[in-house]
Amino acid sequence: MPATIETPKPDFTHTPSRDGDRVIQFREALREALSEEMRKDPRIFLMGEEVAQYNGAYKVSQGMLDEFGPERIIDTPISENGFAGLGIGAAMYGLRPVIEFMSWSFSLVAADQILNNAPKMLYMSGGQWGCPIVFRGNDGAGGQLGSTHSWCIEALYSNVPGLKMAIPSCPYDAKGLLKTSLLDDDPVFFLESERMLGDKAHVPEEEYYIPFGKAALRREGSDCTVVSFGRPVHFCLDAAEELAKEGMNCDVLDMRTVRPLDLDAIIESIRKTNRIVVVDQSWPFASVASEVITQVCEHGFDWLDAPPVRVNSDDVPTPYAKELEAAYLPNAHKIAQAVRTACGRA
């Protein structure tokens, strides 16, 4: 490996169509992004529990051990704190680690490394030691995994300055955002969802990159702005479909990254709709939704005709029982009701 390698700047101008018939799974899109970048950059390696021999606990890294070998696809002991910290060290010595947490819930035992070390390293070394590392894994309720396994870490972790956080909602974005993450010089927290890894959609075979901090407008309407990211975007679209039948039309904004947050896109939308609902799977207290609404009030208050409304998970630990878990999470029904409230039609 050459002593120093220049990391290329991602080309954001190339934006292949989202339509097409190359239908693959979300997990395959992730694998494609990883593999494409790994072929070009020998500094990138993937490390985590079950990523190599087992082909990934959720099959994201299927076949990658065969292609890249055990030096670059590395199984670890069950030591999240250990391999997170090791990754940080490797990043500081010029490598580009991708650290997979089987679930973000398990990253909690590595909290000091990922929150107290990685995002602060650059600052605390006076700009000297950057930490280009990607932490990725499943976030949110995976479906009856119980309270300790069902964490939404976005609210808690995005509070920390110095990290970036991408939360794709579809296979196309999964590939483009992960590729951008791999070229990024800062620590990137990349949140996937066990419930979406099997989702299928067209993903271009060619290479493309999606910029951080640029929301995507998934549906257009002038009555209410609905803001979300990750899996709940789909519930927002379902709700919007439902509401359209009642004559209420929504702008549905998929933020794609919450750090950085594309506030401009939100303000632009509320200038048209004057109403906003924010949907976020985190708990309500100090959630990402709280932050979005605060920023909207700070920067777009004059455009609002009604108090902002948010839909979060309930303010209790994630229930284990199937029905209770379903009742606890945001869903299309709750979102539709929230939009009606925002529009004075509840």
């Binding site: 002991p77 250990g82 035992v109 839909v311 309930d314 029905e323 209770l324």
Partner: protein, 373 residues
Amino acid sequence: MPKKTAYTAKIEYLQILDENGKLDERLARGTLKDDEVIFLYEQMTISRHYDEIAFKLQRSGRMGTYPQNKGQEAGPAGAGYAIRQHNPEAWLVPCYRENLALFLNGLPMEKILLHWMGDERGNQIPDGVNILPISIPIGTHPLHAAGLAWAGKYRGEDRVAITFFGDGATSEGDVHEALNFASALKLPVIFFCQNNRWAISVPSSIQTGSETFAQKGLAYGMPCFQIDGNDIFASYKVVKDAINRAVKENQPTFIESLTYRLGDHTTADDARRYRDPEEVEAWVGRDPLIRTRKYLESKDLWSESKQKELEAKAKEVVDAVVKKAEGIDKPTTDDIFDYTFAELNGQLIEQKQTLRTSSLGTHPQQEGLQTHA
């Protein structure tokens, strides 16, 4: 300058009942009496059947993910029985693969099924039973055992804490901090590590560079032992001795129980994809149930008809347990509120009364959801 050896250590390995059912009479002295062996054989057989039924319940959609205990019954049986006989007040701090130790110490059998069916009430432990909830974040609970033991010592009790965890868990930092605390603060903790050779698909040879898992406790300055974990005599004896040391000398013990996970990691796994069938076959030959039965037969304490009776009893017991678990009413929305704080407060009071939770627009009558009257 003197040059000397600053430290040397050995790890003792203990097996009393070998895989052919042959007992080392000398080592067995003062351990299990014949009626106790029969009792534990019965309990292991019932536990094995419980496992099979749990597996079937999962396959037929009546239960969530379940981790089978199959093949590992003897370690928890001997350890659990030693606790029950010699320190019945002890705290048991489990992970998820030692059902029998819990059952032997008063956990109602339907609780484990209820838990894996997705009902938090499976972890509601009856009064007077000193068992902590099943712990899924790997390796985090041995610190709780150290804390319980510390509290017991503080209260002037002779209560030990025994914690169960896997080979894989020893890679978590928390486990090492627990070992250090237990030793440095002289706490009556028994660390029972079930080395079943696998952590999902990761073999224990990749998990650690140490020759044994037992030696991990040495660095923290506590007595460490390796035992044949498929031998109820060995696990009973080593835990009984550990209880003595804990109570008399406030000394922790680290035990590596060598065993094998005969089933998949959980019902969500298929171990055939990464395990050599010959390895599994070899361990089937070391099955704790088979060797215990051979021993009993060699002493004319067991017969085909007794076996038939026992199998019928196991079926009866487990059928009743399943009935009980499935007969319990589904959890209600009240649970969400009642279990979040010791006392309901603030907005939650109103939310409980109105059944409108903090996310706006909640519909009280979610499909399939029972609400309070």
